[in-house]
Symmetry: C2
Subunit: 202 residues, 2 copies
DNA sequence: CCTATTCACATACGTAACGTATGCCAATTG
DNA sequence: CAATTGGCATACGTTACGTATGTGAATAGG
């Protein structure tokens, strides 16, 4: 056992992040007591302040973790898709699906922005946006998407719409029916990005 | 003086709402101390709890007020516009412009949703959405907009995109340039809603 | 192998803010 | 003019955050 030290530290960090993630995702950031969820991890706030500085710092760490997972899932879906445009649409759909999960919705789309400000300004997060932006750029070069728009800007707008879409489905009485309506409307909006002459996909 | 009573009460409420609105809009909801901003209105938390029940209740009142103002501004712009489609686009632009104001952005798009949940579920707010939805419905009947989508759903999605658009502009180093890019991308998305001349797609 | 130092984490404390319970005074009602 | 309502302030208890300090184990150095 030459490394029990580093391992213990990593484990402590992981436990804190996991406990906080659960608390933030269910109870919500503001209502989550640091005493409570550190205790649920078998620790105290001392460890928390040592590793993350303050409550916000811990939230940042949680967000970074979730963002990494989201990016991984997006990229996995990305790998299989016939056309690049389809690929792009799939990415958006996956994004909406992920946003349906209460934990992601709460932390990434509600409490996160409220506590840390505009997600576009987050240092570590939004790997998904990067991916979407890249694909939009490629689609422009291929002449599939109109060239007049800024890829990252478009990605962010679509992102905002996705988040709304997810919330609408998640809060619906009839998620099935709502999902259909939302996805239809969403894809319709995406059509606006296509160059007119030849809308051949989807 | 048969009404000094009612007037005083209304004035107290108005003062509390105004003070809270300022505090929430600048300091932010979570960081705004009730003791502080009630004192700045020459009152105490006693009045606040009497009229609004709790901090959330006050936030709701503030939101209702802002929402009313936003709806009024939207409707005013609405009154002058050559075509209904242009009217609709103007509405969206106005929405983005309003979202540029820090107070509106902070209260309506960040703290509001974080504290009170999905804006779509707010009882009193979102008069703007109603307006946009109505116009979309009319546009569908006129055959300008594709008939396959649900108007309110579309309005919400556009709303989400608008909020992103505004944040992007507001946080930009170069608001002028960013604004151009964002509005271009935004209008491009809206194009997706239009019925296309050629009958092949959709 | 022994000592010194680092550092991960816990404990203890001060402070600020929220919500409730209570009290008071002015205005309305009869 | 007496009684009562209710608008608002005051006082209090509770909770949660952040800091300052302490401790013990693991590493580093000789």
């Amino acid at each position: 056992m030459h490394r029990p030290r580093k391992e213990m530290i990593a484990e402590t960090r992981a436990k804190l992040i996991a406990a906080a993630r659960h608390a933030f995702g269910t109870t919500g950031y503001a209502e989550a007591s640091m005493d409570d969820f550190t205790a649920s991890a078998g620790l105290t706030r001392g460890a928390l302040y040592h590793h993350f500085g303050d409550k916000k710092g811990l939230l940042q760490a949680v967000i970074a973790q979730i963002d990494g997972e989201m990016a991984a899932r997006i990229n996995e879906v990305a790998s299989r898709a016939p056309t690049r445009w389809q690929h792009f649409v799939d990415e958006c759909s996956t994004y909406i699906e992920m946003a349906l999960e209460p934990e992601i919705q709460r932390i990434m789309f509600r409490d996160g922005p409220a506590v840390l400000g505009d997600p576009a300004q987050w240092p570590n997060a939004s790997a998904c946006i990067v991916s979407m932006t890249d694909h939009l750029t490629a689609l422009q070069e291929e002449g599939v998407v109109v060239s007049s728009l800024d890829p990252e800007t478009a990605s962010r707008l679509i992102n905002g719409a996705s988040s709304q879409a997810a919330q609408r489905i998640a809060n619906s009485d009839d998620p099935e029916a709502t999902s259909k309506k939302v996805v239809t409307a969403f894809k319709q909006l995406l059509e606006g990005l296509l160059k007119k002459p030849d809308p051949q996909s989807n």
